[in-house]
């Protein structure tokens, strides 16, 4: 066996592109070389040119000699330099403009997940009745003033965007596969299903925003949190569709199995949303104990709290029922 010994693994030498390679890879590596020389070739292409020439000097054979003749050509050198600077400019342009529209660092927080988190979160979406603490953990800043939420890596209750994105893509593919099994596939189906899913999410977020405005809920969590929470229902929809597709031979969320699974996933999703959004939509209860009299002026009466609870219930159950039913149709 040629396995390396376990224990401490050497630091992995991925070729990390610090900058664009000066060498355009016009030739594939020679097929009969051993593994180490191939690695040497790959690692060489990302280094400086003089380093690469050193590696060329160390590597035997005439095959690299042809390569070296090409790099001595000043025209090719100019072209590669031009390509390198053009690529750098393109990268900077992209970074400047994309970061204006999309908050990349905020997005990164949502994709900071681990396998453990993903599996447990999926289990939580499908079976939330046993889970105890639903509040998100906060990390306190150095001066004790600012506190931000922990990323999904450290906190099972934190919403992430990985599961919603993956489940939306899986949902689209699943619907098209099922349509294909029925013989009803057409390439526009991808667009139809994608726009349906997008429209469901957008309408739901708009309704939620309207509700928070009308009930004057000061929303401290970001928009992406709400999008993430709205995306969790796709997990239940996928389970419903796949189980009912296996149980009934054709498509239907009709029949006993389909409706049972649908009702179960709908209830699980609604409970998950109610528990999670309680901290987003309803005001914190610990504020009332400190300033009991002034909260009346800000309108935090029992009627308003009832209204908000009713709104949360309405949103978690009835709105989700409507949208999950829309998504489960063939």
């Amino acid at each position: 066996m040629q396995r390396p010994t376990y224990g401490q693994s050497p630091p992995l030498h991925h070729p990390v592109p610090q900058h664009v390679s000066t060498v355009p890879q016009l030739r594939s590596p020679p097929p009969l070389r051993s593994q180490s020389q191939l690695h040497g070739y790959d690692g060489a292409s990302y280094h400086q040119q003089h380093q690469q020439q050193q590696q060329q000097g160390s590597a035997p054979g005439n095959i690299f000699g042809q390569y070296g003749n090409m790099m001595n050509d000043p025209g090719a050198q100019l072209a590669s330099q031009f390509g390198q600077t053009a690529f750098k400019h393109g990268q900077e342009y992209l970074e400047q403009n994309v970061s204006r529209f999309v908050n990349v660092s905020a997005l990164k927080h949502y994709f900071n997940v681990t396998n453990f988190y993903v599996i447990n979160k999926l289990f939580l979406v499908l079976f939330p009745w046993r889970h105890k603490p639903w509040s998100r953990k906060q990390a306190v800043g150095p001066n004790g003033q600012e506190s931000w939420y922990l990323p999904p890596r450290d906190d099972i209750n934190s919403p992430d965007m990985y599961i919603p994105v993956m489940s939306v893509v899986t949902y689209i593919f699943l619907q098209t596969v099922i349509a294909g099994l029925d013989g009803k596939f057409q390439p526009e189906l991808f667009g139809y299903i994608a726009t349906t899913a997008l429209f469901v999410v957008i309408v739901e977020i708009l309704g939620l925003k309207l509700g928070t405005y009308l009930l004057s809920i000061s929303n401290q969590s970001q928009l992406l949190d709400l999008v993430a929470y709205s995306g969790y229902k796709f997990v239940g929809v996928i389970v419903t569709i796949s189980i009912s597709e296996i149980a009934n031979v054709g498509k239907g969320t009709g029949g006993w199995v389909g409706w049972t699974v649908f009702i179960y996933t709908f209830l699980a999703n609604s409970l998950f949303l109610m528990r999670s959004l309680k901290y987003v939509l309803l005001p914190e209860n610990n504020n009332d104990s400190r300033v009991p009299m002034q909260t009346m002026q800000t309108g935090e009466t029992r009627a308003k709290r009832n209204q908000r609870t009713q709104f949360l219930f309405f949103y978690s159950y009835i709105v989700q029922l409507l949208f999950m039913w829309i998504l489960s149709r063939p």
Partner: protein, 83 residues
């Protein structure tokens, strides 16, 4: 799907309806206009639900008058040209 295009039509028609409502003949009778003084209309935030709705209707009317002209023209042209 068909649902999405229909939804655009529905929302456009509803916003048209909100924009068309007569200020003095209808909204004042229902006391849904900011001129007929809704008592809790002091602060813009933390007001009652009714005050929020009044505010929302008024702002939709002032903001969406001109874009609605554009959107309606587009939809009319689309319907005429493409059936």
């Amino acid at each position: 799907m068909y649902l999405f295009g229909n939804l655009i039509y529905i929302s456009c028609l509803i916003i048209n309806a909100v924009a068309i409502l007569s200020e003095d003949r209808f909204l004042a009778r229902i006391s849904a206009s900011p001129t007929s003084y809704d008592p809790a209309f002091g602060s813009n935030a933390d007001a009652s639900v009714r005050a929020k709705i009044v505010n929302l209707i008024a702002s939709v009317r002032t903001l969406m008058r001109i874009p609605l002209i554009v959107i309606n023209t587009l939809i009319i042209v689309y319907e005429l040209v493409l059936g």
